[in-house]
Symmetry: C2
Subunit: 353 residues, 2 copies
DNA sequence: CTGTTAGCGCCTTCAA
DNA sequence: TTGAAGGCGCTAACAG
């Protein structure tokens, strides 16, 4: 298994190990000629540094951690949202010479399992990116209280070394509601996520303030809450439409839930967008493929991941990034929104009773 | 920053570092009483071993690598298939005390970037799991030729230490075709993946042999090939149905492509399943949410990931696993398949001309 | 500019 | 049953 080490190169080059180390690390204090020779030999021997050894002395592992919280049914990795974020995160890390280690989150906090923080410390992880929504994970505080830089996704948390990325929900929702209002909708409901996610609160704020600024009344009867799943979205929509059959449009806090809303609408014999306009949030791949394709707010997922990586890298090199970075979500108009069709809506109301 | 080390524990317990090391590693050659005391102190100090140091001497990092190949548009991480596989893989690894490092694959093979193998060696990765489909990645041979155990997904490759997991395509496709035949279909087309993926070849074999064993003729005009994307599936289906409007059913090699087929069918005014039956492959989340919900072959994705992990762990401990492990894909009958409707089909044929 | 020395934290002989 | 010594491969002082 004889890997080539600095020593091998040193012997072959007739210099000391230190010299080789310096040449390879790009230090200036080494003769041009010697450095050239060393580099050539290193290349020749396909030298790969033993990072474990380096880590041992420098206390820097070059590893960033990724915790994907809430990995149950359709969450976490399996969530259509995560993929591109992780791609962006990984690409940016790789660009800067970091590697990414993914840890299993949401393990039961018993003595068998180590806390998130312990996992980081064992591996000397330099910083960690947390994806997930619930701020009530009991293992979070450990991490955010530590000196390890943390970036969270859509989940601003307290902590000196804790930062977060996300999209500006308020202005995004404004754009969505304005779009609906421009089309002529007056009765616009909302299917929001659960309250344990801060994005839900923000999106609700955006919804309310948008209505206000557009001169539309706010009506709590057309506000529903679901669990960010399609099934939950469907359910929430059904209860909404049954209570308020005159609702002509609905803003949904995630595309997955919006797909559930589409399903619910079908069940009630409502055709989208003729009888009901639907706007989602996220622009997951599926959103373009549903029938009708979903009007939604595009989150720049890849860029969100990149941004998280950059913040982490920056924090690790001592440059404190802003505690929260918000990107812009853009409205993508597709086939699920249109002018309200009063007549059809009337028919449907009767059918529904 | 002062992490607790073996030395700290040793001092506090009044023993040597060696003794502590042994106690913590569960060696038997240490006094019951001493061990107890040591363990207690370790607990008290929340001792976390420095894995870098351990790796340096044992040459075992406790890290498995994950390479997600083909990360372009909708592939890799972003693919709805990957998530659960990775979950299973990670869970099983964690169970055995391994951690997972994810590497960026498909980087251009220039001097800037290290080969997959080099990445593994730097980090002393003990084994690697490769997800992806194209057997023509130029960086693969390096890895499969090395002594590092490799498990690939759906991509059997040569190599002493190279293994693979996947589903038994042939018998799965048989089940699908039999289902269609049982419903009364006689003219069953196929939208397959590209030939660079070995699953495409296997599924094609399954398709042909199923037809034969059911006494149905094989007709090359209703065979099409696409790139595993929805857009590609749509395109392939359109060319198929235009050439052979009497086709009443189609087997599609992936759900993503099948969703594209559904879209294509809509465009041609064919309603599914009345005019056309569609069977997919994978049972991704979306498959249950399309309209109509897709009849498909369920791949046990989580178990595939678990299996990969177990094979890797086993290979790392010197127990050579079987070079290929096939799990069973199960037919899930949903709304996209039904008896062929001759009359409607007739109408459509005329419309199409 | 280059080499010598020392040590990171841990495991593994070898003695006691 | 326990301890002492040595070294994994690398970097970081400190000398020359």
């Amino acid at each position: 298994m004889g890997r080539t080490t600095l020593k091998d190169i040193a012997e072959k080059a007739g210099v000391s190990v230190t010299a080789v180390s310096r040449a390879l690390s790009g230090y200036p204090d080494i003769g041009e000629e010697t450095r050239g020779r060393i580099l050539r030999i290193a290349e020749e021997l396909n030298y790969q540094p033993n990072i474990a050894a380096r880590t041992l002395v420098t206390h820097k592992s070059g590893v960033m951690g990724l915790f994907v919280l809430g990995r149950a049914k359709g969450e976490g990795f399996s969530h259509p949202f995560s993929g591109q974020v992780i791609n962006g995160f990984l690409d940016e890390l790789t660009e800067d010479g970091y590697d990414m280690m993914v840890f299993k989150a949401n393990r039961p906090p018993d003595s068998e399992n180590s806390s998130y923080l312990d996992l980081c410390r064992r591996r000397m992880v330099e910083g960690a990116f947390l994806m997930g929504l619930r701020t009530d994970d009991p293992w979070l505080s450990d991490l955010t209280a530590s000196a390890i830089p943390i970036v969270t996704m859509d989940m601003p948390l307290a902590g000196d070394m804790t930062f977060s990325v996300g999209c500006d929900s308020v202005s995004a929702v404004h754009a969505a509601i304005r779009h609906l209002a421009d089309l002529g909708h007056k009765r616009i409901g909302i299917v929001n996520g659960y309250k344990e996610a801060s994005i839900s609160l923000e999106r609700f704020e955006g919804y309310k303030s948008a209505l206000t600024s557009l001169g539309l009344p706010f009506d709590p009867t057309i506000v529903a809450e679901a669990d960010f799943t399609a099934a939950g979205g469907r359910q929430a929509f059904l209860s909404l439409i049954d209570k308020a059959p005159d609702m002509t449009a609905v803003f949904v806090s995630s595309d997955l839930m919006a797909l559930g809303v589409l399903e619910g609408a079908r069940e009630r014999g409502l055709s989208v967008p003729e009888d009901l306009s639907v706007v989602g949030f996220d622009n997951i791949e599926m959103a373009a493929m549903s029938s009708p394709p979903l009007t939604t707010l595009d989150q720049p997922r890849y860029e969100l991941g990149q941004t998280a990586a950059r913040m982490l890298i920056s924090a690790c090199s001592g440059i404190t990034p802003p505690s929260r970075v918000l990107l812009k979500a853009n409205l993508i108009v597709r086939g699920s929104t249109a002018k309200p069709n009063k007549i059809k809506t009337g028919e449907v109301i009767e059918k529904a009773h």
